[in-house]
Every structure is written in C-alpha cells, then in structure tokens.
C-alpha cells in the first residue's frame, strides 16, 4: 500500500461553546501553594523587566498607524467590523499575538483620536498590552488610566469576548462608561453600566452587552446570585438544555453570561483591600426562622444583670468577651428561676442558646460603641465600615448580634437574616477566564497578587518624568501639636497661592481638620466620601491656586486634579498627609494626587504619636517605645515606629486575607456534601 499525497490538514478548530463560562476552581496542593509563595517573591521583583518586554507592541502599533490614519471614518468603522473576524482568528487560548493586538491598538487609537479627540500615549498602549496579557499594569496617577483601558477593552471586545470593566464606585463606573461610550459605539461595540439599585431586567440586559462597566461589588453580587441558581443545576449541558426549554420552565433568570474577561481599575484596592471580607447574600428566611423576639429580650435582660470581672471579663488586647464560670452559674440560676414563671421562654431554657445569646448581648453592650462601630439612622442600626469609615446600609451582623445591638439602642429587633450564599472575592476573581488590572500602587502588593491571583505586575514608565518632591516626615508628640503645624503650614502655602490637599484617615478626622481651618479663617472645601459627581467636581477644582481641600484618601478617587497656570507657578499641588493609613499603598495613592504628567508637586507628612495607627491594644508596645524614643531623642526619632506599626497592620491584614482563603478552601472540602461551591 502506498500513501500518496497525504495532506493531513489540521482539523478546523471551532471554539467550544460554553454557556456561562467560569474558570474551574484551582485545587492547589500545599506544595503548589508553597511554590506560588516562593515564586511570588521572584515575580514581584520583575515588574520593570516585564514592562520592558511589552515594548514590541509599540512597533506593531506604529506599523499600522499610517494605514489607519489614511482611512476615513467609514473606512475605519469597516476596519473595526473586519477586526472582529481577524482578531477572533488570531485568538489562541485567551491570548492575542503581538501583531494582531498591535493592529487593533492602532485602530482603536485612531478612532479615539477622531471620536474623543484623545490619542493614546505609548505608555498607555504598554499598560493596555500588559492588562491583555493578564498582568497588573502599575501606572502613576494622572497617566490616563481610563483612556488606557479603552485599548484593552475595545480590542478584547472586538475579539469576541465580553469585558467587565470594574471600578471602585458607581460614580466612576458611570462616568467612565459615559466618557468612553462614543468610542466604543464608533467601533460597533455596545456598552452598558451596572449600578446599584437597578432592577433585575436592566441588569440582565446590561450583562448582555459587549462591554459592561460596574463596581466590583455589583458584578460580584450578581454573580453570586447566579451561582445560587447554578449550584443547584451544575453542568454545562444542563444550562444548554435550559436554553431550549420554554421560558416558563427555565431556571430562574441568570444575570451574567459568565466570567470572561475583567479589567480592573484600582486593582490593588479591589483585589486586596476589599478582599478581606467575603461577599454574603443574606435575607430573612422564614423557613429557617431564627428565634422569637422574646428570647432576644430575655437574653438581653439577663446580660444587663451581669457584672464585669465577676460574671465575665474582657481580655486585654482582644475584642472579645469571656464569660466566667460565675457568669454561667448565674445564667443557670436565672433559667431555673424562669421555670416557675408563667411566661417562661423555652429557648432561654436551653443552655446552648442561652449562653450564645447572652454572649452576643454582652458583646453588643460592651464591645460595640454607638458612633464608632455603628450609627443610628432612620430608626435603624447601620454598620460603619472600620476601614473606610463609611456606613453600610444593607449590611447586618450575624448570629443575633444585630438584634442585640438593636435591643441595646431600644429598637425593635428585626427578623434575623440568614446567609443564603457566600463567597470570597479571591474565588470570584480567580474564576475569570482572563484578568487584568491597573493601579498606581501595585508594586507593594506584587507578592500577594501573584500568590493569590497569579497576576504579575508590570511597572509601566511614566509619560513624563516624575518631579514630585517629598519632604521629610514631621512627627509630633500630640495630635494637637500636629494640627497646629498643619494649620500653620497650610496658611503659609495658601498665602503663597499654592493649592493644598489635606488627606485624612476618616470622616471624623476630616471634620476636625475642617473645624481647625475654619478657626484660622482659611477658606476650604471639605469632602465627605459620598463618591458622587459633586465630590468629583470639588476634587477636580482642587488644583486651583490657593485652594484648600480636605478629603479622606478615598474621596474623589479616579478624578484628575488639573492644575491652573497660577497653581503651577506656585509649585504645583501640595499634598499633606495628616496621618498614616493602615497600608503604605493607601498613603501612596494619596501622594499620587500631585505631580501628574510631569507637573511639579510636593508631598509632606505630618504625623503624631497619638494617631489612630498608634492607638489600640495591639499598638501598645510600639506606642510605648515610640513615646520613650520621643522623650529621649525628640519626636523625629519615633518616626520609624509609626512605619513599623504600619507594617504590622499590613501584615495583620495580609494574615486575615490568607486566613480567609484557607478557611474558604477548608470549607470547600468540608461542605463538599452540599454540592459545588458558589
């Protein structure tokens, strides 16, 4: 037999249609995790080298630039239509070749130039290319991250993959999508925005578009809601079958179409800072109905009769109640006495329930302070986020704690909410087929980004040289002295006509700062982290000469502070850090507010040994040392103690996230009985 003219053509690769794409959960062994941890240390070092390796994209982009510029608008749009074909062909396993991406970048850049009047800088192309390669692009504030993202977003969307663009708040999502929508429409791509308060229908149709803007929280919650449905109907085939069923027999409507590609703005704060608490959907579930109000009231009444250090104690250094043996006995006696009364509460008679509820009642009475942990608004208890200082209207504490706090404040206890679904951000993001992000401060978190998400950081160079100046930290013994100095300094700068931005840690601190400036008669703007358009407008104005703005670090994020010519002459924006935050990255975000696009700027830090960072039982030792040093060598010598303390906090938060992942993983194994995880 002879084989003649065998032309073994490669089989045509048809992309496998997957309904509702989710990357399968990684099941790492302990060894894998160790390897990733170790590897992360190396990966974290290669950020500049990685950025350098991105450069071929520029050559490819330039190669097509002339051809694209030669096309008229209609031609460009036709090219965009064609790009859908050739990009999809070039797509191999979620990655595009440099050649294809470069051509697409040239197309998008030309379109942006014509539609928005903005032409991407080379560094923006580098950042976009990094994101498309599944990396985190570290780009300085003011380098135009929003515009930069369009290259990656449009190219990815043209290659047939849906893109979720995540921002940190609704205002930014809305603003970015509105600003960039003309460009996308020009390229024939549909855009939608998912915002808080939208109904299910709107969301469902929004998630059907090529490009979806939204906050990480909204998208993650929608996904979690979908998972609660999918969990009960696992398997791709099941879902495909579902589609051909008549509408009334389908599984309740899914909102998302899956998790294809995500581009995350402010990636470090989304992937790291917010990943400390899991996502929880809860609701009052009548079927699992908790305990009757009377039991809560009885437990609260019992808790009020207990005395500290006799029946219970608060161990030093831990936010926790410890009921002492005498306390348990007292409770037993109360339960026994209750038996003789006609209105005996049966649940209170059960030791487990009794002790648990009294524990929660004691926690509510002695650990949670009004105005600190929660506030009362509209006759409701609202939890205050410890990190941001913002209230979280739809969050409640679990396990009866919320009810106890309500009873403590003399409110009617609400029906207990039960968890319906829960997942960690870490697991959510790892389910995306492709993940990319950009931020001004990724380098500090590079190790964690790699070991948790397998995301490498590329440090994209600035378009123009950074000429910010950093003053030495000034350390004071007391808050009083610090604010004195800040006020003096602000007055001087104000007189010189320089714009000043005073960054604070919390809204309370902002208020205090505002009061002080008012005393001195200095006109200023105060930002309360409302994160809306007004705020953005104020921040945008902060670059006017002689303007004084007080804001938390979170306020007005994503909004550029453009300098007026006068302000530029007065030395640019002066950023005054009135306190160090829990993480160095947050400080750097604030520092990044000045010196955009090679403009001048100055960063000064005013710290005191009474700052929040040095408060609390955990800081006692460091604070003591700092005071000692300050007394011996002057306050300046204690500066490093504050940085040390900051490092401790970073480590503690890192540990919390790690615990969360471990716990999540353990739960997966533990609860395997309940079917797939969310």
């Amino acid at each position: 037999m002879s084989d003649l003219g065998i032309m073994d053509a490669a089989p045509r690769r048809v992309p496998r249609i997957r309904d509702y794409y989710e990357a399968p959960d990684r099941r790492d062994t302990t060894l894998d995790r160790w390897a990733a941890d170790l590897n992360g240390a190396f990966v974290a070092q290669g950020a500049r080298w990685r950025a350098w390796r991105l450069r071929p994209i520029l050559r490819e982009m330039e190669r097509h630039a002339v051809a694209m510029a030669a096309l008229d608008d209609a031609g460009l749009q036709a090219e965009a239509q064609a790009a859908r074909i050739w990009l999809r062909r070039a797509l191999r396993d979620q990655t595009l070749s440099v050649a294809a991406a470069g051509r697409a970048f040239a197309l998008v850049r030309e379109a942006a130039d014509r539609v928005l009047g903005l032409r991407h800088y080379d560094v923006q192309a580098l950042g976009a290319w990094a994101m498309m390669r599944g990396q985190i692009a570290e780009m300085r504030t003011g380098e135009g991250k929003t515009l930069c993202a369009t290259l990656a977003v449009a190219t990815t969307a043209l290659s047939g993959r849906q893109v979720h663009v995540m921002t940190v708040n609704d205002y930014l999502a809305e603003r970015d999508s509105a600003e960039m929508a003309p460009l996308y429409r020009f390229l024939g791509l549909s855009v939608a925005t998912v915002l808080e308060g939208q109904d299910a229908e709107t969301r469902q149709s929004a998630y059907g578009q090529d490009i979806v803007y939204g906050t990480n929280k909204e998208i993650a919650f929608d996904y979690l809601r979908d998972r609660a449905i999918l969990r009960l109907k696992p398997g791709n085939l099941n879902r495909k079958l579902d589609r051909i069923l008549p509408a009334d027999r389908r599984a309740a409507g899914l909102r998302l179409q899956g998790l294809p590609v995500a581009i995350i703005d402010e990636a470090d704060s989304v992937l790291i800072d917010e990943a400390r608490t899991p996502l929880i959907i809860s609701g009052a579930n009548p079927q699992q109905g908790g305990l009757p109000d009377t039991t809560f009231r009885r437990a609260m009444a019992a808790a009020r009769t207990l005395t500290e250090d006799v029946h219970f104690r608060r161990p030093r250094g831990i936010r926790r109640i410890e009921i002492l043996p005498d306390g348990f006995e007292a409770l037993d006696r109360m339960a026994d006495a209750d038996l003789d009364r006609p209105d005996t509460d049966p649940a209170f008679g059960i030791p487990v329930i009794r002790e648990h509820l009294v524990y929660q009642a004691l926690s509510a009475l002695y650990l949670f302070e009004l105005g600190d942990s929660y506030i009362l608004r509209d006759g409701k208890v609202q939890i205050v986020d410890e990190n941001t200082g913002r209230t979280m209207p739809d969050r409640t504490w679990s396990d009866g704690l919320h009810q106890m706090v309500e009873l403590k404040e003399g409110l009617e206890p609400t029906a207990e909410n039960e968890t319906l679904s829960r997942m960690t951000y870490q697991r959510f993001f790892r389910r995306y087929a492709c993940l990319g992000g950009m931020t001004g401060t990724a380098q500090d978190a590079a190790w964690e980004l790699w070991s948790v998400y397998r995301l490498a950081v590329a440090k994209v160079p600035t378009n123009k040289r950074d000429i910010r100046r950093f003053a030495r930290d000034r350390v004071f013994l007391t808050t009083e002295a610090k604010w004195q100095a800040i006020a003096e300094r602000t007055r001087a700068l104000h007189a010189a006509g320089a714009p000043v931005l005073i960054g604070t840690r919390s809204i309370n601190a902002s208020d205090a700062a505002s009061a002080r400036l008012s005393e001195l008669g200095l006109p200023h703007q105060l930002l309360t982290a409302a994160q809306d358009a007004d705020e953005a407008a104020i921040v945008a104005e902060a670059g006017q000469a002689g303007r004084i703005t007080v804001a938390t670090n979170m306020a007005g994020r994503g909004t550029d502070i453009k300098l007026s010519p006068d302000a530029l002459a007065a030395g640019g924006l002066h950023v005054i850090l009135s306190e160090r935050h829990d993480s160095r990255r947050v400080d750097r975000q604030l520092e990044g507010r000045c010196g955009r696009q090679g403009e001048p700027g100055r960063v000064e830090a005013y710290l005191s040994l009474e700052d929040d960072l040095m408060q609390g039982p955990a800081a006692r030792r460091v604070a003591g040392l700092a005071k000692l040093l300050a007394r011996a060598f002057g306050p300046g010598a204690a500066g490093w103690c504050i940085r040390w303390r900051q490092k401790q906090m970073e480590a503690a938060h890192g540990r919390m996230r790690r615990d969360l992942i471990d716990q999540d993983r353990g739960m997966g194994e533990f609860l395997a009985f309940g079917g797939e995880l969310e």
Binding site: R27, L232, P234, G235, I280, Q287, Q288, G290, P315, G317, I318, R320, E322, I323, P346, G349, I350, P351, V352, I353, E355, H356, Y359, S398, D399, G400, E418, T419, L420, S421, R422, D659, D662, M667, G668, E669, F670, L671, A672, F673, G674, G675, E676
Partner: protein, 715 residues
C-alpha cells in the same frame, strides 16, 4: 466556652435531603455508663462512633426529610443540649467523607475523586511510614472460617474458658517446679545458632495460631473477618488478621476476648510446649517445644500483652476500661491540658467524655510515650549492633517518628498555629521557660559525678613472706599471729638433696684442686684451665651453701605473722619466690581496684576525692587517696573478689585463658586510706567511690553516647 448555635454555613445544608446508604449498620454500645452508637460501614470495613444525638439525626436521614427538618427534630428531642448547626455540619461532613450518606444533589464528582485519591495516598503512607511494621494484606479468609468455626465453637464457652484456665494454671505450676531447669543456661540455649533457626520456624507457626484465635473469636460472635496478611515487624514476617468486626459487639467482655484471644491461645500453646519439653527425651522435637514455650510465654507477656504498645493488650485494656481510642485520646487529652492550663486557652474543648476517664488518659499518655521511646530505641540499637547502617537508619527513623516529627509539629503549632493566635505570647513564654529550665537542668545544673567500684585489700609486697629457695617446709618457727622482728626465722625448710649436692661439689672441688696442683709446674696452659674450673666449682658451692641459709624463711620486717596455710604447710614443697604468708604491720591498708575502661580517664584525670567503705566494717566512709596504678590495661583480675562471681562488678570471661580473665579490659589502681589505718584482713572488700566533682547532665549523656557508639559501632 460559648458555642455558636447557628452557623452561617447552614444554608448549604438546610435544603439537602440526605439518605443513609445501604451498607451501613448501627450498633448500640455503652461506654462508662454513656450510650454511644457504632456505625459499621460494610464497604470500607470501618467503624465510627457517634453520639445518640448524631444517631438520632442519622436515623432520620431517609432521603425525604431536609437537613433543616432533621436538625429541628433533633433539637426538639434533645432539648437539654441540642446539637448546634456547626456540629451538625461537621457530622454531615464526616459522614460524607466516610461515604456513609448520599444526597439528593448531584455530588461534586471532582471532589469525590480527589478525596478517594487522597485516602489511597494516606493509606499507602501509613503502610510504609513505620518501616518496623509494614503490612501486606494477602487474602480474605471469611469463607474458610465460616466452614470451620463450628468445630471450635465449644472453646468459646464458659466451659472452654475453664479448660483454658486449668491448662494455663497447670503450666504456671509446672514452670515453678522446673524453674531451674528452664532457666539454666538460658542465654546460651536461646541465642545458639541452631536454635535461632528453630525459633524462626516456630515463630510464624505460633503467630499463625495466635491470629487464628482472634479470627475464630470474632466469627463465633457473628463478626466477619475479611483480611489476612503478613506484617513485617522489625523485618520479621508475622501474620495478622483484621478482627475489627468485633468493634460492633455490644458486650465489652466479648470485645476483650477477641482482643485477648491471641494471647490466650499462645499461653495455652506455651503450656503444651512445656509439658512436652518436660516429658520428652532431648532432641529436635524437645528443642522445638522449648521455643514454642518461649515465644508463647515471654514474647506474649513482654510485647503482645503490654497495653502500653498498640498490640493486643492495648485493645483488651481499652475495651475493659471502656475508653475506645485510648491512645489517640490520651494524647489529645495531654495536649489539651497543656493548652488549657499552660497556654491559657480556655476555649479548647476537652476530649474527656466522662470525668472518670481523666486519670486513665493522663497516665496512659505519659506511660505509653516513655515506653514506646524506650522500645523503639532498644530495637534500633539492637538492630544497629548487628547491621550498623540499617540500625542507624532505623534509629533515626524511630527518632524522627516519635520525637522529631511531634516536636516539629509542636513548633509549627507554636509559631504559626491559628488556634494560638491570641495566646501565642503566653504559649511561647511557657514553652521558652520550660525549654530554658530543661536546658539549665541539663547544661548548667551541676550534678555530682562519681565512679563507684569494688576494691580488695592487698598486702604491701614488702610485707610478704616469701620462700627464698626451694624446699619442703620442715617446721614453723613461730606461733601464728606472733610478733616478730625483722630477720627472725619464721619457717624452716629442708632440702635433702641440697646437702648431697654440696658434698658432691666439695669432692669435685678437691679433685679439681689436685688436678691443678698436678699440672701446675708442667703445663702452664692446662693449669690455667684447671684454675678456672676450681673457681667455677667454688662459686657453685658458695651458692648452694647460701641456699642453706635461705632454708630459714625470715621476717622481711617487723610485724605479726600471718600464715594462711598454717600447719598444713609442713611437708609441702615450696618453690623459690612463693608467697607463704605475710606480716601484719602498721603500714596503711592498700585497696586494689579494677576500673572499667570507659571510666579510667575520669578516675585518672579528674578525681577530686576518694572515699572508701570497708564492707567488713560498719560501712562508714573513710577518706582515701589514689596511691598508684598499673599503667597498662589488664585482662586478668588480681583477685576473684573483684569479679561478679566474688561480689564485685567486673564480668569474667568464662572462655578466658585463666579463671580470672575478664571480658573487657580493666585498669588496676591502688587506693590507700588517708587515716593510714592498717588493714586487718587481706582480701577484704571495700566500696571505693571516686568523686569527680560536679558536672551537668548533658555532658554525661554526651560522653555516654560517644562511648556507646565507640563500643557498639567503632565510630
């Protein structure tokens, strides 16, 4: 400890309708007055112990009720201490990972596959983790046992037990009667090469009967036995059976009998062997019987019957105490105590289920650990002395398993264990203090270091009464014990040949002189020869005449005469230099001691003080000093009083050249008391203690280990 009643993870279980699988049986048992249920899994052959509340929920799992309903029912039923949601989740999770329940959901197949692979891996690892006990399963004997159990059923009755009791009782009596015959030359008999072969033959046989005992005991009461295999215990193949089915037996006595059946069978075998051994003629069969008796009797009592090792005795012990999983739980309890009281972790849950268990758990944890360490090292050392490399590897493995791994785990727990998060400071402080104190006790706390040895009073050579020449003792000149002055005659010897020889010589001298005179004037050369001859004979004569003087044995110095031979000496032939007796003088007593090689350096270089206790006196210590030493090691003892046979501590070599040859080399030293008191009795024994000052224990352990290695392995 406040337990959360509700769990935020409950939502994952609430709606599930679980169903107990078909291959599960549940048995009711009582442990220390508390009811438990044993879940028997016929698929995996595993047993799980659950509480009544858990059993209640398990019984409700019929595939129609949701977990929510089941949990609520359990709360209503056990309203005193209802199961919390977390506990219920844990229970369901454990049931699931043991494959005991199925759900109405599509299971997470990937998870199931991974779990299975993980279990296989774990089983593999446990099989080979301890190289001293590797198990190799062989076949399923259940049908064979079914067919044969009928014939043996009568044994497992009160009558059978009485029969056994009578047999073993008789064996005990016989052992007592023949004790000397049994133990005579024990070591020689047991460790002789041909006996080792016999023993290697007898061992698997005895063990096979032993395992058959377990298997039939299980079968008799309705259990199933599905695995027979070979376990390599310290490389010696030993059969084993899986008799875990007995765990389901309701009566603890039956469980105990299954556990103890092997021992009972072996003891019966040993008795039969003994009876045969007593009655049979010497020969191969008798030697075989001896070995059966040895294995059945001794190895059973030392190893199998010992509850501190995880062999049969342990299971019987645990069953009778009604504390299942005694080993694991005692360890857990020990660490619970550490965490609770030393680290101040008040939230730790105690593994104690009944107060009466506490003492047992604590005692067992400590005793078993010490004994296990001891046994591991003894075995490793024994193997190492035969095969150095294997032995050292085994020893390291044993060290790793029983010491280093727990220590590493402990340190990891200390440094990174999440449970310690709020107690780490205290835990580290406590551990640090403990380690510091331990280190201080070992390295810094000086402990007295002494060498104790036996000495024997030896007379000074200058006081010895020696025969100056050969001769027969003619008469004793002094009364025994009489004081004599130097030069006084003590003994008179006679040598009849001597006077004859003198006479002969005198004649020859005369003749020689005559010959000299004859040639003096004729031949000068010849005269010179003759003259020399005369001189020679004169010299010889003089020597012989001197010996006449030596026939009187005189006192070498002043003192009291001690002649151990006494009047028996008369008529005896003594040779020149023989010690006939000695003089008791007021010179200080001199104790000769033999020091073992490993101590000689200490005695020589680092002796601060010497103390002497005469065994004849009241034992009051007397200060002494090192007087002299023989600077060469010896293999022969100066006196039998130093050997173990004579009450000393030096082991003699029975195959030595002389009766006093030693096994190990010794060094001889002389010690004299400081008070200079003369010794009254030559050959009297004394305890001599060398004080080497104070030395921390660690150095001593190090030195002992070094010497052990030097001695055993030449490294």
């Amino acid at each position: 400890m406040v337990r959360a009643f509700l769990s935020s993870d409950w939502y994952r279980l609430a709606a599930i309708k679980p169903r107990l699988r078909g291959h599960v049986d549940i048995h009711r048992q009582t442990f220390r007055g508390k009811i438990w249920f044993i879940v028997q899994d016929h698929h995996s052959g595993k047993y799980h112990r659950i509480t009544p509340a858990a059993q209640y929920m398990l019984a409700l799992m019929n595939g129609h009720r949701t977990m929510q309903e089941i949990w609520e029912a359990a709360c209503a039923r056990f309203d005193d201490a209802p199961p919390t949601q977390s506990e219920t989740i844990r229970l369901v999770s454990q049931l699931h990972s043991a494959d005991l329940i199925a759900a109405d959901r599509l299971p997470d197949l990937q998870e199931m596959g991974e779990r299975h692979a993980k279990q296989e891996r774990a089983a593999m690892v446990t099989r080979f983790r301890n190289p001293m006990a590797v198990r190799v399963p062989l076949f399923d004997p259940d049908r064979f046992l079914d067919a044969t159990v009928g014939a043996l059923r009568w044994l497992f009755t009160p009558f059978g037990f009485l029969l056994w009791l009578g047999l073993v009782g008789a064996g005990l009596v016989l052992t007592g009667l023949h004790w000397t015959a049994l133990t005579d030359g024990f070591a020689d008999q047991v460790l002789a090469a041909e006996n080792l072969i016999l023993m290697a033959l007898a061992y698997p046989l005895v063990k096979a009967v032993h395992e058959a005992g377990h298997a039939y005991a299980t079968k008799v009461w309705g259990g199933e036995v599905h695995e027979v295999g070979v376990m390599f215990l310290v490389f010696v193949p030993v059969p084993y059976v899986d008799a875990s089915a007995s765990a389901a037996f309701a009566s603890k006595w039956r469980r105990a009998v299954v556990g103890g059946a092997g021992i009972m069978v072996e003891l019966a075998l040993a008795t039969l062997g003994l009876i045969f051994w007593i009655n049979a003629e010497p020969g191969l069969a008798r030697a075989f019987a001896y070995n059966v008796m040895l294995i059945g009797g001794i190895s059973t009592l030392l190893f199998n019957g010992n509850p501190l090792l995880r062999f049969d005795g342990y299971f019987v012990f645990a069953d009778l105490l009604e504390i299942p999983n005694l080993g694991q739980r005692s360890n857990r309890y020990f660490f619970y105590l550490v965490q609770r009281y030393l680290f101040g972790m008040k939230d730790e849950a105690s593994p104690v289920q009944r107060n009466s268990e506490r003492g047992w758990l604590f005692f067992y944890a400590v005793a078993a650990f010490i004994y296990r360490m001891f046994i591991s090292f003894t075995i490793a050392l024994f193997v190492a002395s035969k095969f150095f490399v294997i032995g050292v590897v085994l020893a390291l493995w044993a060290l790793g398993n029983s010491f280093v791994m727990p220590l590493l785990k402990g340190f990891r727990f200390l440094l990174a264990g999440p449970a310690l998060r709020n107690h780490r400071g205290r835990a580290l402080a406590v551990t640090g203090t403990f380690l510091f104190l331990l280190g201080a006790a070992l390295f810094a706390l000086p402990a007295p270091l002494t060498t104790v040895t036996y000495g024997v009073a030896t007379p000074d050579t200058s006081t010895l009464v020696r025969a100056g020449t050969e001769g027969f003792v003619d008469r004793i000149a002094v009364e025994p014990g009489a004081e004599v002055a130097q030069g006084d005659p003590i003994l008179h010897l006679s040598d009849p040949v001597l006077s004859n020889r003198i006479e002969v010589l005198e004649r020859r001298l005369e003749a020689a002189r005559m010959r000299l005179r004859a040639v003096l004037l004729i031949d000068q050369v010849q005269a010179d020869v003759e003259r020399e001859r005369v001189k020679l004979i004169e010299g010889q004569l003089e020597t012989l005449q001197g010996r006449i003087g030596d026939l009187v044995v005189r006192a070498p110095r002043d003192g009291a005469v001690v002649l151990p031979g006494g009047a028996d000496l008369i008529g005896r032939l003594v040779r020149q230099g023989d010690v006939l007796g000695h003089l008791q003088t007021d010179a200080p007593a001199r104790m000769r001691i033999a020091v073992r090689q490993d101590r000689v350096d200490l005695v020589r270089r680092n002796t601060r003080a010497v103390e002497l206790r005469m065994l004849s006196g009241d034992g009051s210590p007397r200060a002494a000093r090192l007087f002299g030493e023989v600077p060469q090691s010896q293999t022969v003892l100066p006196s039998a009083a130093l050997a173990t046979e004579g009450g000393g501590d030096v082991v003699l070599n029975p195959a030595g050249v002389t009766p006093l040859s030693t096994l190990d080399r010794v060094f001889l030293f002389d010690v004299v008391p400081d008070d200079g008191a003369p010794s009254t009795l030559v050959g009297e024994r004394a305890l001599v203690k060398f004080d080497h000052g104070l030395e921390p224990l660690a150095w001593r352990v190090y030195r002992a280990a070094r010497q052990l290695f030097l001695r055993q392995f030449n490294v």
